[in-house]
C-alpha cells in the first residue's frame, strides 16, 4: 500500500464508534451520589448506580471508574442529607465496594475532617476513633504520586460554608496525616498547649502541634470528642452536639471489604 497512514486513519475512524459506545450524544456518565453544578440547579443527585447527565464532572472531585465519573469529595458541602460517615485526613476509597464494577481503589486528599456517604472497607487500615475514620495504613505509591494533582481540593473546599464534622480526638498511631509526605504547605501554626483550628477543614487539634515554615508535623495528643461544627472558612468552630454521624446506615460492610446494601 502506497499510503499506509491512510490505512491507519481509516482504522482509527472505524474504531472510534466502538470506543464511544458507552454513552451517546452529550451524555456524561456518572455513578453514585454526586453534586449537581450550580448552573444545572445545584444540590445533590441521589441516583446511586450508573446514570447519565448532560453536564461535565470536574477533575478535582471525581475519579473515573469503569467509564463512570465517581464523586470522591464531601457531599455534605452541597447539601447532601443522607447517611454519612466522618473521616479525617486523606485515605483510599475502595470504589467498587459501594459502586460495583471492577476492583478499583481511588484516593481522597481532603486533609481535614470531612464526610463521605460510604464507610471504608473493613480491615486494619482504618481506625474509627471518636466517630471518625482515620487511615492508618501505608499509603501506596500511586496515592503519593497523585497527591500534587488532587491536593487542590483543600483550597477548593476551604471557603465552603457547611457543617463539617469536628474531630477533637487524638489521632491514632500511624495516621496518615502525621506522615511527612502528606503534610501540606501553609497550614495553621500553633504553639504547644494551644488549641489550633485547621483552617482547611475545621479540625480542632489540641495541644502538641508543632509547625515549621509551610510544613506541619502533627503529633497527636489529648482526646476530647467528636461533634458537629460549622466552619465558615476560617478558624471558627461552633460546637453543636457531641455525637454525630451514623444515621440509620443503609448498608454495611461484610467480609473482606465489600459493602453490602440492604
Amino acid at each position: 500500500m502506497r499510503k499506509p497512514w491512510l490505512l491507519i486513519v481509516l482504522i482509527c475512524l472505524a474504531a472510534s464508534p466502538a470506543l464511544a459506545d458507552h454513552k451517546y450524544g452529550k451524555q456524561v456518565r456518572f455513578a453514585g451520589i454526586h453534586p449537581i453544578p450550580k448552573s444545572e440547579g445545584g444540590g445533590i443527585c441521589y441516583i446511586e448506580g450508573p446514570h447519565v447527565h448532560i453536564y461535565a464532572a470536574n477533575k478535582l472531585e471525581y475519579r473515573v471508574h469503569d467509564d463512570d465519573h465517581v464523586f470522591v469529595g464531601d457531599p455534605v458541602a452541597y447539601g447532601y442529607d443522607g447517611p454519612k460517615y466522618a473521616y479525617k485526613g486523606p485515605h483510599p476509597i475502595q470504589v467498587d465496594a459501594y459502586i460495583g464494577g471492577d476492583p478499583d481503589v481511588e484516593y481522597c486528599y481532603i486533609q481535614g475532617p470531612h464526610y463521605h456517604y460510604f464507610e471504608p472497607a473493613d480491615g486494619p487500615d482504618f481506625k474509627l476513633v471518636g466517630g471518625a475514620y482515620f487511615y492508618v495504613g501505608t499509603p501506596p505509591p500511586p496515592m503519593i504520586e497523585a497527591r500534587p494533582q488532587y491536593i487542590g481540593i483543600n483550597a477548593y473546599y476551604q471557603p465552603m460554608v457547611y457543617t463539617r464534622p469536628v474531630v477533637e480526638v487524638d489521632a491514632p498511631v500511624g495516621w496518615i496525616g502525621a506522615r511527612a509526605e502528606f503534610v501540606g504547605p501553609g497550614v495553621v501554626v500553633g504553639a504547644p498547649g494551644a488549641v489550633v483550628v485547621d483552617h482547611r477543614g475545621g479540625a480542632v487539634v489540641a495541644p502538641g502541634v508543632a509547625i515549621g515554615a509551610g510544613v506541619q508535623v502533627a503529633i497527636p495528643v489529648p482526646t476530647v470528642s467528636v461533634g458537629i461544627g460549622v466552619n465558615v472558612g476560617g478558624p471558627v468552630v461552633v460546637h453543636d452536639r457531641p455525637v454525630i454521624i451514623h444515621e440509620a446506615p443503609h448498608g454495611k460492610f461484610k467480609g473482606h471489604g465489600k459493602f453490602k446494601r440492604h
Binding site: K23, G25, I47, P50, H51
Partner: protein, 123 residues
C-alpha cells in the same frame, strides 16, 4: 399427536406471560408498592429490545424491556442509554428486565425518583 403439540404450544404461551418480580408486571407492581405512580405501559418499537413497553412513572419517561436472560438484559444497558438521549437518565438491568428511565421534562432534579424507578424492582 396434534393434541400434544397444541398442549405444548399452550404451555409455552402461558409460561411466557408469567408474573412475578422478574416480569414486567412485577416491575410495575414494585413501583406501586414503593409509592410511585406508573401510567399504563404500551408496546414500544425500539432498538433496545424486541419485547419492550413504554409509559411514565411520576412524569419520567420509562421503557421496560424483557430479555430471555439476565445476561442479555445487562448487555442491552448501553442501548438503553441511546434511548435516553441528551438528558438525565439511567439504564439498569434487573434480572431479565431492563429498566430505562429518562427525565426529559426535568421532573426529578434530585434524581431520587429515578433512583427508585431503577432500584425498587430489585428489592
Amino acid at each position: 399427536m396434534k393434541r400434544l403439540i397444541l398442549f405444548a404450544v399452550v404451555v409455552a404461551a402461558c409460561s411466557k406471560g408469567k408474573s412475578g418480580p422478574s416480569s414486567r408486571d412485577g416491575v410495575i407492581q414494585a413501583w406501586k408498592k414503593g409509592g410511585l405512580e406508573p401510567s399504563a405501559f404500551t408496546t414500544a418499537q425500539t432498538d433496545v429490545g424486541k419485547d419492550c413497553a413504554s409509559g411514565t412513572v411520576n412524569k419520567l419517561d420509562v421503557l421496560v424491556c424483557t430479555f430471555p436472560s439476565a445476561k442479555e438484559a445487562k448487555a442491552a444497558e448501553d442501548a438503553g442509554l441511546k434511548w435516553i438521549g441528551d438528558t438525565t437518565g439511567a439504564s439498569r438491568a434487573q434480572g431479565e428486565e431492563l429498566i430505562v428511565v429518562a427525565d426529559r421534562h426535568k421532573a426529578d432534579p434530585s434524581g431520587r425518583t429515578i433512583n427508585q424507578v431503577v432500584t425498587l424492582p430489585a428489592k
